[in-house]
């Protein structure tokens, strides 16, 4: 499977219309955040609930926001996603790194790694797992869901799909 270049991925996000980027880092997201930071597009956040709330504020100000986070941070963000975005119909794109995928990771990632898809189904946030083969279609689907349903939509990002700064 081809590895997506971080530059190409950021360009694809921008071409889709996304123009506000915040989040909390993860190693899997390192390359994307580096490119975004180089282009002065990225506003670092200190917690994932803060990040999704900043994205909500940016949307209220006319932006099309993206939040990058490790899946452990999804736990931090849950209350804001459920009692702000989902009930107020405020959309954003969540790019969530899938730590603990197939149980191959440090112990702290295993429970979230295993249950994340069910968790998203339970709170009814639509998601897809990104791959280089489906990138174009995934982003088209993301934009469509964002505009039509006006709720958060998630892309799961496994290790090695988008190039990171660390080998």
């Amino acid at each position: 499977m081809a590895v997506i270049d971080s530059d190409d991925f950021v360009k694809a996000l921008q071409d889709t219309g996304f123009d506000f980027f915040t989040g909390v880092p993860d190693t899997i997201l390192g390359g994307i955040i580096e490119v975004l930071s180089d282009r002065r597009l990225y506003t670092p956040s200190v917690r994932e609930d803060e990040a999704v709330a900043m994205a909500a504020g940016a949307f209220l100000g006319g932006k099309i926001p993206v939040v990058l986070m490790q899946n452990s941070g999804l736990g931090n963000a849950l209350n804001v996603l459920m009692s702000l975005h989902l009930i107020y119909r405020i959309p954003c794109l969540l790019i969530i790194s899938w730590r603990g995928f197939e149980g191959k990771d440090a112990p702290e990632h295993l429970v979230m790694g295993q249950t994340m898809p069910q968790l998203m189904e339970t709170i009814r946030i639509p998601y897809r797992t990104l791959s280089s083969e489906t990138l174009v279609d995934d982003l088209r689907w993301t934009a469509q869901t964002f505009m039509e349903q006006r709720i958060p939509v998630a892309l799961f990002l496994k290790k090695g799909v988008v190039k990171t700064i660390q080998p």
Partner: protein, 186 residues
Amino acid sequence: MQSRAQAMQALFDLLADEPVIVCNGFPSREAQKIRDRPGTFYMIGSMGVAASIGLGLALAKPDQQVVVFDGDGNVLMGMGTLATIGALRPKNLTHVVFDNEVYGTTGNQPSYSRVVRLDHVAKAAGYATVERVWEREDILYEFKHMLANDGPHFLLIKVNEQIEDADRVALDPPEITKRFRAAVVG
């Protein structure tokens, strides 16, 4: 000491069409009762992130003065955001905190703001202006000054525990989003 509603009324009298994000609980209910306006975003949930929403809006609309009406319990819950605001230093953000030293909406359980100086925390975090006020004249003077100058500003208003008899927020949340966004973005 003023009630939060009295202090809020004084602030609304100085506002034109600046967007205001109001934290959840009674502050939003009181804001609706005192001055319902399209440019007010009433929060009914997601405690602790009013300032984060305000920050996101301030970054998205750098030429627009953005005001946050927050509470001490809310600030304590999302205290990391003081660091984010202090680091990013958006010039167009005024963060007002009505500090009654209790969780008033849930029955006046004491908050740590009676021992922890939130204004000192904001100062240390790097807000451009930090003021702590009690009296109406001081509230008006400082808020006016903040709206006219570069921020980020932190206005800590010490208020009493009195809660205004105010109904729940009447608009449905998606209507609040639509109305607010139309007022801000046009």
